[in-house]
């Protein structure tokens, strides 16, 4: 299992990676994740030998605790199945372990360690008191009956319950674990512990869940953009914005842009995009939400409904997306991975776009990112700009601990504050390490530093 290290790396990282690979054989995803972090914080370790002396990175890559357990369950016909359950308690320097549970046949130790490792820094960046972890099982929910799902969740929790707790480890959902599964897991935990605490997030609204979850990512991305603009003494007011996608993230991105006085001229789905020069106002947004959430129609219908808009269907083989070739100030990619390539990035720059806030995960290809960074525009990478989603998990924990339920406005306000602090962390860190305005570096290093400093403070534990 060779690990391909082609980029120029420091001898320290090289040795370090050799050690990681030797100690964690056959876990390529984990190796990759560690390598990326090691690369991006190389500059920190260079400048601050105290972290190296404290062997911070070496400690970070070793999970605080790994729990693997047997999950036996009965299917509807009474046959016994055995799955493997995991919980990786990666790092609790900043707070209780926090991270999703994944039920999927591809789940194994290596993948969960990789996800848990990344989660540590994601959570850190939100500035909330959350450590990092991840768990799950190789159970495949596909094709299972409701009762089988319930029995599996109960069997899973029958072991997991002794390792988690509102102040220890607070799992959330992930692939294969949605509201239904969280409900079953929570029910079993409550029964076994005889306590109602916020041990899981992603709960139903009527029993401990938080408001603003569907809105959080979109709102957060807009708050982040607005913070970035503020560094140049500007605001979203009167700015023309390109938004891609038409799902939750895109819809609430549009809503918040409208709140802040901006003008949105595009939306898209997998078939194509609409361009509405007169702007997508609240009334049109309401119509669109009905189209997408209730009727689940195609975006093309927007152009049929509102004659001032034009619809352009997506050319499958095209080398660029014409949505990004429209004159504007801000761009909010909110659809899918890799939706902005180098050419799209160039088009955006040519059209005067100087703010890009990523609402979706990894929407920009590495080549596209380089263009933005090189051009020195306000580019908010996903790990910072879309941290609003993770943040609301933290807010759910807070509400549970306080035995309080915040109103929509209160949660929104807290979200705004969190996005402000994330932005601040990015800016300050980027400045400190000599790349002012580089939010990519700011986010990568900022997340790491908070964890590292907390570990230093807490001694060798």
């Amino acid at each position: 299992m060779g690990f391909d290290v082609e980029e120029k790396v420091s001898p320290f990282v090289e040795d370090f990676m050799a050690e990681v690979q030797a100690r964690n054989p056959a876990e390529p995803e984990f190796h990759q994740a560690v390598f990326e972090v090691a690369q991006s914080v190389g500059i920190v370790l260079e400048r601050h030998p105290e972290y190296r002396a404290a062997r911070i990175l070496e400690r970070m890559v070793e999970a605080e605790r790994v729990i693997m357990f047997r999950v036996p369950w009965l299917d509807d016909r009474g046959e016994i199945h055995v799955n493997r359950g995991f919980r990786i308690e990666m790092n609790s320097a900043l707070g209780p372990y926090k991270g999703g549970l994944r039920f999927h046949p591809s789940v194994n130790l290596g993948i969960l360690k990789f996800l848990a490792f990344e989660q540590v820094f994601k959570n850190s960046l939100t500035t909330l008191p959350m450590g990092g972890g991840k768990g799950g099982s190789d159970f495949d929910p596909k094709g299972k009956s409701n009762n089988e799902i319930m029995r599996f969740c109960q069997a899973f929790m029958a072991e997991l319950f002794r390792h988690i707790g509102a102040d220890t480890d607070v799992p959330a959902g992930d692939i294969g674990v949605g509201g239904r599964e969280i409900g079953f897991l929570f029910g079993m935990y409550k029964k076994l512990r005889n306590e109602f605490t916020g041990v899981l997030t992603g709960k139903g609204l009527n029993w401990g869940g938080s408001l603003i979850r569907p809105e959080a990512t979109g709102y957060g991305a807009v708050y982040f953009a607005s913070e970035m603009l503020a560094t140049r003494g500007k605001s979203l007011d009167g700015k023309t914005c390109l938004v891609s996608g038409s799902g939750n993230v895109a819809q609430y991105t549009v809503e918040k842009i409208l709140d802040l006085g901006g003008k949105v001229v595009t939306l898209s789905d997998s078939t194509g995009f609409v361009y509405d020069d007169s702007g997508i106002d609240r009334e049109k947004l309401t119509w669109l939400m009905e189209l997408k959430n209730v009727r689940r129609g195609r975006i093309a219908e927007y152009a049929e409904q509102f004659k001032e808009a034009t619809y352009t269907s997506l050319e499958d083989g095209a080398d660029h997306n014409p949505l990004w070739d429209i004159k504007a100030d801000c761009a909010f990619p909110s659809a899918t991975q890799n939706e902005i390539n180098a050419k799209d990035a160039a088009n955006l720059l040519r059209n005067g776009v100087y703010v890009v806030a990523e609402g979706s995960n990894m929407p920009t290809t590495p080549a596209g990112v380089s263009r933005f960074v090189d051009a020195g525009i306000l580019y908010g990478p996903g790990k910072a700009a879309n941290a609003g989603g993770v943040a609301t998990s933290g807010l759910e924990m807070s509400q549970n601990s306080m035995r309080m339920t915040w109103s929509r406005e209160e949660v929104d306000e807290k979200l705004h504050g969190i996005m402000h602090r994330i932005h601040q962390t990015c800016v300050e860190t980027a400045d400190r390490f000599g790349t002012p305005g580089n939010y990519v570096n700011g986010a990568n290093i900022g997340g790491f530093l908070k964890v590292a400093d907390a570990m230093m403070d807490q001694g060798v534990v």
């Binding site: 094709g143 009956s145 139903g204 609204l205 009727r295 083989g317």
Partner: protein, 974 residues
């Protein structure tokens, strides 16, 4: 004299063991007509000693019966028996008792040749192909009896012999019944020429024996043995001689006969008309096989050279005192025949035997144990038989196709026919289902869900013929260039057979709900040609008689549409042979405002090509949708579930049903005009009244709660039912998970019973009406699901990838398809989803061209072929790609799409034994070598579609059992 003729035909086939599935058996009884026909044709001359038929479904039962010492004179086995192949059964029977003749009756030549190739049929005494003519059964029996009795009867009574030489199983199966029926009907006509009763009887029994030979050697043997008794010879021009096919053996045989007796009439038949001279030179008459006047010609040939005629009530001395040709006339006769005769037949169990031969087993079984001595008086005996008979007749009519009568038609449940001719495949399937429902007591077995075949009237194919004739449409229809032209002329045709119009008027008095007008063609739904979705179906609000007639005319017109003609082209059938029966059926559903639709439409298959989790292929699969079945037929978004595991649903949001179809009641459809020709407004081929609506409409109609769940973005959870706010998703959870109605159980049982009944897996179309107090599951169609026989294994491993164009572990089909030189490719990189309609058109054009050139081709493209959603694949209809021999569904690079399993699509794939490869990142070991394809020269190329023609053809190899397949870049002769 009496003594003498009782000695005739001494050796008879009395007890026949029929090993067959219930459906195979049902086919013998097609439409209930077998019964009358046997009476007039078999009993007319047979008098008594009718054969008894014991039917069982499995080889094991057969062997057990033989082990118990049951005596049978003949064993007939069909291709579909529950537990073993027919050859194995024959081998095992041979091992027990070598003397019983065993005859194999196949339905399909292809199935049969499979069997012959893989198993051999050496253990059979005869192999025949069932082509829907019940007389074949009689011919088989008679032919065996003739063989048994010929030596005695010729030497002792001077009975004459007809020699028939024919080595084609298919042709012999067609010809033999024809010949027997001709011989018998001529016997009958001679009978009525005023001879005394004894003479008549003699004539009947002394009809000529027919001796069938498939080889020269056998034929010569017969000739040697019976040369003095031969009154005529009918020979194929070519048949087997010395182990090889001799195309002129018939001519040589003619010479042999003529050398001995110059006056023996000989008929040479051949598919090769150039032999006419040679045949005539040898002294024979010649008849071209397949000539349109063939039947008449054979008839007149026989009439000129041979000559010869129900339950005959007799007095003890043999005098005829009454005659019945069917159950009805039997009942009439029973009232009037003298006591003496009644006692005579009663004491000999003649009634029971007579019923048995008509397969009226229940009646026979009821009568059989009763002895004449059990009755106090003859009057009591008479009354009891009549009562039993009448009860039985009324029982038999339930679940059978009775002739429509407005007085007896029950608008809730009757399924009747009007007009002569066949009722077609679909109606036959429905009638069989109706029978099964009664037999298995299924109608009310499930609490809260009644099962029914909706009331309907079938218009026989004779009406179609008459309509074409009266309006002079046939030759026009065969030569018309566009479908629209055909449709307009048909709608405008004014003469509709009056009797049918009267029946339809009466039907409309009885059924006031909307009607479905469906095709039920002669060729449709025969076992191996499903014709699924080829002909049109129209739904009408039932607002006027004219509207109904127009819909029927439109179904008639669809017989001649391009799609149907293209489809027939790839079968071995001919458009000219096609005839259309029409089913006019009460629509399942309920009115909601201006819409009429059922809550659920669906299709259930007893065999699942893609089982998942704990499911086995035999557990079946069902697909259901809200509203009319158009969604399913066209491969739209449906909910799939296994009837055994209805609870195993996936949580999904994408690709669920967003619109549903309903019949729009208010809209006025096109109506043909009575009176002078007048232009008809713009109408399309499709049923224009079937209109899509969104889910909101269903929610307002109060139908959505049966089938929907609600997605809450707030909670990231899908909740069953629609009590909460959120996005409505059609999941069928309320029914499948919460069992609001026992749909899954009912479907599971229907699949089981259907499979058992037909002997092969089945596909059942249905609709569910949940509007009333009692919920109703209406069955709309049942047809055999065609699966390829997977008898031998193909080893596909060890072929290096560089020799392959394509490989997949998700393959349907079995066997090797060689020498495909044409490849039609829609490239995965050049394809644009937004232009998939254009791609469909281009593929269709190529298909049409390749079809005309009779070149099978390999079709490769991204996404679902035949998808209704142009974003998921290329939205072709079946007839637009029907010339493809193998189809590859390659995944998109960016979208993961489940392989197509549109119901009609798969029926057709399997029916035509077309290979199907699914290639996607989700399918193990699957790939397409796009680079290789791109490097091949195209003889036709557009932006979207390439037509490659290769010097050396490619080879497709599929292992059906492992579902693996490869396509090799070159012909592979290993």
């Amino acid at each position: 004299m009496h003594e003498d003729f009782h000695q005739l035909e001494r050796r008879r086939i009395r007890d026949i063991l029929l090993v067959s599935s219930l459906f195979d058996f049902y086919l013998f009884e097609e439409e209930g007509l077998l019964y009358e026909q046997i009476q007039s044709e078999y009993h007319g001359f047979q008098l008594s000693h009718t054969p008894e038929l014991t039917r069982i479904s499995s080889g094991a039962e057969a062997l057990e019966l033989l082990d118990r010492g049951e005596r049978f004179d003949l064993i007939i086995t069909t291709l579909h028996i529950d537990d073993m192949t027919p050859p194995r059964l024959a081998r095992e029977i041979r091992a027990k008792n070598r003397k019983i003749p065993i005859v194999l009756l196949a339905y399909d030549k292809r199935e049969l040749s499979d069997l012959i190739t893989h198993h051999g049929v050496a253990d059979f005494d005869g192999v025949f192909i069932w082509q829907g003519d019940f007389r074949l059964l009689i011919a088989i029996i008679k032919n065996l009896e003739d063989e048994l009795n010929v030596a005695d009867d010729t030497s002792r009574f001077g009975v004459q012999v007809i020699l028939v030489n024919e080595d084609s199983v298919r042709y012999a199966s067609f010809f033999l019944p024809l010949l027997y029926s001709e011989v018998m009907s001529h016997s009958q006509s001679l009978m009525s020429e005023g001879l005394n009763p004894a003479h008549r009887a003699l004539r009947m029994r002394a009809r000529p024996k027919i001796l069938l030979s498939s080889t020269w050697e056998k034929a010569m043997g017969y000739l040697e043995q019976y040369e003095h008794s031969v009154i005529g010879v009918i020979t194929d021009a070519g048949f087997t001689r010395g182990g090889v096919h001799d195309s002129r053996a018939g001519i040589a045989f003619t010479r042999q006969v003529k050398q001995r007796f110059w006056d023996i009439p000989i008929l040479v038949q051949s598919t090769n008309p150039t032999l006419v001279g040679e045949a005539q030179a040898a002294g024979a008459m010649f008849l071209a096989k397949g000539s349109p006047t063939f039947r008449d010609d054979v008839g007149s040939f026989l009439r000129d050279y041979f000559g010869f005629g129900d339950f005959v009530f007799r007095a003890r001395d043999g005098t005829e005192v009454g005659r019945a040709k069917d159950l009805k006339s039997l009942e009439e006769q029973l009232r009037v025949v003298p006591d003496e005769s009644l006692l005579h037949h009663g004491s000999r169990n003649d009634f029971s035997n007579w019923f048995k031969a008509r397969t009226e087993f229940q009646l026979a079984e009821r009568l059989r144990p009763r002895k004449v001595s059990d009755y106090d008086s003859v009057a009591e005996l008479r009354e009891d038989i009549i009562r039993q008979l009448r009860e039985h007749r009324s029982l038999r009519q339930r679940g059978m196709l009775t002739v429509f009568s407005s007085t007896t038609f029950d608008p809730a449940s009757s399924f009747a026919r009007t007009g002569g001719g066949s009722v077609g495949g679909k109606a036959r399937g429905l009638a069989f289902l109706n029978t099964l429902l009664s037999m298995e007591n299924l109608r009310t077995r499930f609490d809260g869900l009644d099962i029914e075949v909706p009331a309907g009237l079938v218009i026989g194919t004779d009406v179609f013929d008459q309509f074409l004739r009266d309006n002079d449409l046939r030759s026009f229809a065969l030569s018309a260039s566009t479908d629209e032209e055909i449709m307009h002329r048909f709608i405008a045709a004014e003469r509709f057979p009056q009797e049918t119009v009267d029946r339809l008027r009466e039907l409309r008095e009885l059924i006031r709900e909307p009607l479905a007008v469906r095709s039920s063609s002669l060729l449709e739904d025969t076992q191996f040609h499903p014709f699924a979705g080829i002909y049109q179906t129209y739904m009408i609000p039932n607002s006027s008689l004219e509207e109904l007639l127009t819909a029927i005319k439109r179904v008639y017109a669809s017989t001649f549409y391009r799609a149907a003609r293209d489809y027939i082209k790839v079968t071995s059938l001919r458009v000219e042979d096609e005839k259309m029966a029409v089913i006019v059926q009460r629509m399942v559903g309920a009115p909601r405002g201006q819409r009429f639709y059922p809550e659920i439409s669906g299709v259930a298959r007893s065999y699942n090509f893609y089982p998942a989790g704990p499911q086995k292929p035999e557990d079946g699969i069902a697909a259901v949708a809200l509203g009319l079945g158009k969604t399913i037929v066209e491969g739209g978004a449906t909910v799939r579930f296994c009837p055994k595991y209805p609870d195993h649903m996936q949580q999904f949001l994408r690709d669920t049903q967003r619109t549903f179809y309903a019949l729009e009641m208010g809209r006025i459809g096109p109506i043909g005009r009575i009176g002078p020709m007048s232009p008809i407004g713009p109408i399309s081929i499709e049923d224009e009244r079937i209109v899509p609506f969104d889910l909101k409409t269903a929610e307002d109609d109060n139908t959505l709660h049966w089938v929907a769940s609600t997605y809450s973005a707030e909670n990231d959870a899908l909740y069953d039912g629609i009590s909460r706010a959120g996005t409505r998703v059609v999941t069928f959870a309320p029914i499948l998970r919460h069992r609001l109605i026992p749909l899954a159980e009912a479907l599971d049982e229907l699949c089981r019973i259907g499979t058992h009944g037909i002997g092969t897996p089945v596909e059942i179309e249905f609709a569910v009406d949940l509007s009333g107090e009692s919920k109703r599951l209406g069955l709309l169609q049942m047809r055999p699901l065609v699966l390829s026989r997977e008898m031998d294994e193909l080893n596909l491993s060890d072929i290096p990838a560089e020799r392959l164009i394509c490989q997949s572990d998700q393959v349907l089909g079995h066997g090797v398809i060689r020498d495909l030189r044409d490849i039609v490719v829609v490239g995965v990189d050049t394809f644009q989803r937004s232009r998939s309609h254009d791609a469909a058109r281009e593929v269709a054009k190529l298909n049409s061209r390749l079809l005309d050139e009779r070149r099978g081709y390999l079709l490769i493209g991204p996404g679902r072929w035949g998808s209704l959603d142009p974003l998921l694949g290329i939205p072709v209809k079946w007839d637009q790609i029907c010339g493809a021999r193998t189809i590859v569904e390659a995944g998109f690079r960016d979208l993961s799409i489940d392989p197509s399993q549109g119901s009609h699509f798969f029926q057709n794939l399997t029916a035509f034994q077309i290979g199907y490869f699914s290639v996607s990142p989700r399918v193990r070991n699957s790939f397409v070598d796009w680079d290789w394809l791109a490097a091949q020269r195209a003889i036709h190329e557009t932006q979207l579609v390439r037509h490659i023609r290769l010097e050396e053809g490619v080879t497709v190899k599929m292992n059906g059992r492992e579902r693996r397949g490869v396509i090799l870049k070159a012909n592979d002769e290993r």
